[in-house]
């Protein structure tokens, strides 16, 4: 239990990380509101944390707490926000060349087959066709779709399509990888195995990774740190260091330490999730009373 440290400071100074080097990404007091007048929803409320170079950080929180909103802000797709997201010295207001995004929604191009979908970012960069195909092939293989290169998305399952999107983002070899619930459509076993692959690459390439998830097992399995969010308005409730040894594989899921982390974070999450449930119930009953 002693290994479970929580920090509330915004600097994210963490003794286990190489000190002195600048963080890869700074999220500083970010606020995002939707709507206007009486209909304002605060989706992200004064959120701050850092992600170090090569670090794997997960953001976990109940549905509707503003995770995807934060993801889009960091990815530069939602330029209109308060506070700062910094990568290097640059405030993000448009997609950054070093950032790759994997979206929560199904996002494959229906008119491209698997290999052409995955090769898409290379095509944009003007990489020659044969090299493009080689590199795409490598990542398709990695997500376990080698036999489906010529298939179109309509011929794939939801989980397979999601793996195509993951491969498509990995092929561009972003220095910073952002993923919004990329494994949500996968079964538990595939999720664990694909998680292993992602960790492998991440460790190999020393890739800075921010994973948005509401899956606790996944977060603990993969992360160096976990940012726990509150239910509306989305704030940082706690940041938890995961001091499990690396290299780490999905086998870690069975260990005692793993269980402790899960139990600990679950306590926080349960509070928030039940607030979320109660919120939507009262909203429903209010709507019922109106109707």
């Amino acid at each position: 239990m002693t290994s479970l440290s929580s920090e509330t400071s915004l600097t994210g100074a963490d003794p286990s990380k190489p000190s002195g080097s600048a963080p890869a990404m700074v999220i500083d007091d970010v606020v995002k509101r939707f709507g206007r007048g009486n209909d304002i929803v605060t989706a992200v409320d004064h959120v701050s944390f850092n992600v170090q170079q090569g670090e794997f950080v997960s953001v976990i929180g109940p549905s509707g707490c503003g995770k995807s909103t934060l993801f889009n802000i960091i990815g530069g797709l939602l330029g209109d926000y308060d506070g700062n997201v910094l990568i290097g010295d640059e405030r993000i207001s448009a997609p950054h060349p070093e950032v790759g995004m994997v979206f929560q929604e199904e996002s494959t191009f229906p008119w491209r087959n698997v290999i052409d979908n995955v090769a898409f970012p290379l095509e944009l960069q003007g990489v020659a066709k044969s090299e493009r195909m080689d590199r795409a092939h490598h990542f398709i293989d990695m997500v376990g779709l080698a036999n489906f290169e010529k298939n179109y998305p309509s011929q794939l399952s939801g989980g397979m399509k999601q793996r195509v999107s993951i491969a498509r983002t990995l092929v561009s070899q972003p220095k910073i990888l952002l993923m919004d619930e990329p494994f949500a459509a996968l079964d538990e076993q595939t999720r664990l195995l694909l998680g292993d692959k992602i960790t492998q690459i991440q460790q190999q390439l020393h890739q800075t990774t921010l994973l948005i998830t509401h899956n606790l097992t996944e977060a603990v399995q993969l992360s160096d740190r976990i940012v726990v969010m509150t239910y509306r308005p989305g704030r940082v409730k706690r940041i938890v260091n995961i001091d499990l040894p690396r290299p780490r594989t999905s086998d870690v899921v069975g260990s005692d330490a793993f269980g402790h982390y899960v139990a600990e974070i679950w306590n926080d999450l349960r509070e928030e999730a039940s607030r979320g449930m109660a919120d939507s119930e009262t909203a429903a009953s209010r709507r019922g009373a109106h109707g």
Binding site: P95, V99, G100, E105, S107, F109
Partner: protein, 266 residues
């Protein structure tokens, strides 16, 4: 009795899947054939019954003979060529203007809101009522037909292009942006492929209305074209040739529609 009835009925569901594929396609074909045979027989019966005045329902044999004469008549071919060129020109103009207008309207919510009512309320009005104006502007020749045909193709193409533009899955656009696609790459690698089907469907609809409008205009006032020929034959009261002409028009319209349909599927 009841028991045996049930017994004999049971194998049927097993047999059904066999009927599902090729066999059902074949029986559909036979049904179509039988239907055509029935219409021909009824037609011939009516024609011989003498119930109708003169040659209103000419015999099939005379229609076939008239068709033979028509197909070797250079007059038919020159008029067909005129109509074909008129439709092709209207479709080309209508498609070009329609795609551009559709993209502008689809991309700009404000413009769409401003102009949508015009397009929606104008598109179902019969274009032929504008024909007198077109004649004043463009004369009796092919130009007035092309203008009218282009106008009708334009609406079909513009509407389905605008709809296609707005129905593009927003997530695909976000994917393009996240990979920092240039404006040109966004247009050619995301918008165009995503809109190909709705645009081709619009062109198909546009061609249908262009053919209708051009032929209709030719029957009203012209000195060449298939519609003109139909009216000529009609005033001569040459019924077999009239029917032969109509069949030719049906065949041509059907074939061009099938051609575009195939292009869409590929």
């Amino acid at each position: 009795m009841a028991a045996t009835g049930e017994m004999s009925a049971r194998p049927r569901p097993v047999a059904a899947p066999v009927m599902g594929g090729e066999a059902s396609a074949r029986s559909a074909f036979f049904l179509r054939l039988a239907c055509a045979a029935f219409v021909f027989a009824a037609w011939e019966g009516l024609s011989r019954s003498g119930l109708f005045y003169g040659e209103v329902v000419p015999s099939l044999i005379s229609i076939v003979r008239a068709m033979g004469v028509l197909l070797v008549d250079p007059v038919f071919w020159t008029n067909l060529k005129v109509t074909f060129l008129e439709v092709a020109a209207s479709l080309a103009i209508g498609t070009l203007l329609g795609v551009v207008t559709g993209i502008v309207l689809g991309a700009n919510r404000f413009l769409m809101r401003a102009f949508e009512p015009y397009i929606y309320y104008l598109s179902p009005t019969p274009r032929i009522i504008l024909f007198p104006i077109m004649i004043m502007w463009f004369g009796v020749g092919p130009s007035s037909k092309i203008a009218l045909g282009a106008l009708s193709a334009f609406f079909a193409v513009a509407l389905s292009t605008a709809a296609g533009m707005r129905q593009i899955d927003q997530i695909l656009i976000r994917v393009g942006r996240s990979f920092r696609a240039s404006k040109w790459q966004m247009a050619t690698k995301i918008y165009l492929p995503a809109m190909k089907i709705p645009v081709l469907n619009g062109i198909r609809l546009g061609m249908g209305t262009a053919i209708i409008t051009v032929l209709l205009a030719e029957t009203k006032l012209s000195n060449q074209g298939l519609g003109y020929l139909i009216m000529q034959v009609y005033t001569r009261f040459d019924m077999p040739t009239l029917y032969a002409l109509l069949i030719a028009v049906f065949a041509i319209a059907g074939a061009s529609n099938a051609l575009i349909g195939r292009a869409i599927r590929e």
